[in-house]
């Protein structure tokens, strides 16, 4: 199994609902929680998040486009964060999910240095590294209705820009979607084989426009033509 996400950069509106849903679920999770906040109502609010959305402008105005890029753990096939971990706290499961065993972590930050995506954040209160679990305590929970056995971020997305599934199955929804839309892995040149796939924005269909040249009418001409029409009547 190779569980991961497809994230559609074409339909993502950058609303941060996925990040908030992630924070809510994992804060209460026994696997990863709690997710601390530091100075949440003060002047310098900060805290641990597994999913962060950044907003970019591509090109120069007016020929520009805003792209919202949510980023969380890519659950790499060759996860450097796992191999560099000196204590064995970081590990990769057979279903592809990369997790941190808090009971083994010594909080040395080394795995966060090895991750190119900024997917790992230190919990200053617990002294251990934390990261996206792909909601491992949701997706395999058979007490939940099958439609809800998905990561919280996927369920929360209002534009369905996030899909969850098994990339090992070539006919799964994520595999089909990633294939059909030229999904790419971020910073793939580093060789860590990220599993998550990002779908680039599509070219919007051309809007039909009139081929007649527009006439530039000034205020005076408008008044004259208005007067002519009124008189003509």
């Amino acid at each position: 199994m190779k569980l991961g996400l497809v994230i559609d950069l074409d339909t993502c509106v950058g609303c941060h609902a996925c990040a908030v849903a992630c924070k809510e679920w994992n804060d209460a999770s026994k696997v990863a929680g709690p997710l601390p906040d530091y100075d949440p109502r003060g002047a310098q609010p900060s805290g641990v998040w597994f999913n962060r959305i950044r907003h970019y402008e591509i090109g120069e105005y007016p020929a520009s486009k805003t792209v919202n890029v949510p980023m969380s753990c890519m659950h790499c096939e060759d996860a450097a964060c796992v191999t560099v971990c000196p204590t064995g706290a970081s590990y990769k499961r057979s279903d592809g999910i990369v997790l941190v065993d808090a009971d083994k972590c010594m909080g040395c930050n080394y795995c966060s240095w090895a991750c190119p995506y900024g997917a790992r954040e230190l919990d200053r209160n617990a002294g251990t590294m934390k990261k996206c679990t792909l909601c491992v305590d949701r997706i395999h929970d058979e007490r939940l209705p099958e439609a809800e056995r998905q990561p919280a971020c996927v369920l929360a997305c209002p534009t369905h820009a996030r899909l969850f599934g098994d990339f090992d199955d070539p006919e799964s929804a994520v595999s089909v979607k990633a294939r059909g839309r030229d999904g790419f892995g971020m910073l793939a040149e580093l060789g860590y084989r990220p599993v998550n796939r990002y779908l680039p924005p599509r070219k919007p269909p051309a809007v039909e426009t009139s081929s007649e040249p527009l006439t530039e009418n000034g205020l005076l001409e408008s008044l004259q033509s208005l007067a002519a029409r009124v008189i003509g009547r």
């Binding site: 090109g59 020929a63 980023m71 040395c108 991750c115 190119p116 230190l122 680039p200």
Partner: protein, 310 residues
Amino acid sequence: MRPALSVIFFTVLSGAGLGLFALLALAQAAGSPAGLEPAMHFAGGTLAVALVAAGLISSTFHLANPRNAWRAATQFRYSWLSREAVLALLFFPIALAYLAAVRLHLPFALQTTLGLTGTALAWAILLCTGMIYACLKTIPRWHTPLVPAAYIVNGHLSGSLILLALAAADRKPTGAYVALVLIALAAAGAIKWLYFRRFGPPRVGAHSLSSAIGMTAAQAKLLDAGHTHGTFLTHEFVFRLGRDRALQLRALFFALSLLLPAVVVALDVRSAWVLASIALLCLVGLLIERWLFFAEAQHVVRLFHGQQAV
């Protein structure tokens, strides 16, 4: 990268200790006619082990959860950090046995066997320390063999200066020790010069923001990072150092760690106090160099925070 002070002190102090230990043991095994008297040899070895121990203790201060530090010995097969920890744990019994053998005047063969085993471990530890940084593809400025080379050579540079001071205090001919210092100075200067030369405008094949987010048709720029104040990521990876300040600190490192010892050695100064002060100033210079090593390193996560290329 945010300079982690405890790691900086650790690598500079234990580097000096490991370099000093290796050079002491090698000088003894080579049977140099200028070899130190046993009492001074023992004092030097004790200083070396103390420096390594001080460094290792310092390194634990940057752990957020030091209770699990013992587990760092478990991943020897995969992690350079774990290798460093295991070899450091092996180094102490060997080094202490060596010191005991020197102190108790045990047979010379036993002393040199222990000394050379300790030397091999010291070299392996220095290599591991360098590889901890050099193996990270996410920090291109560190991803070069120059990094472990610098860790090994800088350890021997500071070690050789301490050894020279010890030899002067022992009123021994210092020629062989001066030669060691000069070799270390030349190697350290060359490695660091090559290392700094790699920084410049982004090279071909560097990682860019546009390619990282897959938007290669036009240049991308950050509109909003999604948080109002700093995060763990900006705190740890988005350390900013002005170009002028960086150049000043580089100059200070070259002056303290390379130029000053070269001048003093060239003037054939024999005073142990002067040489000890020079060794201390060299360590200060190496602390600056190690601070710069972090401050100037750029992690690829800076791309997502708006930097155009890393």
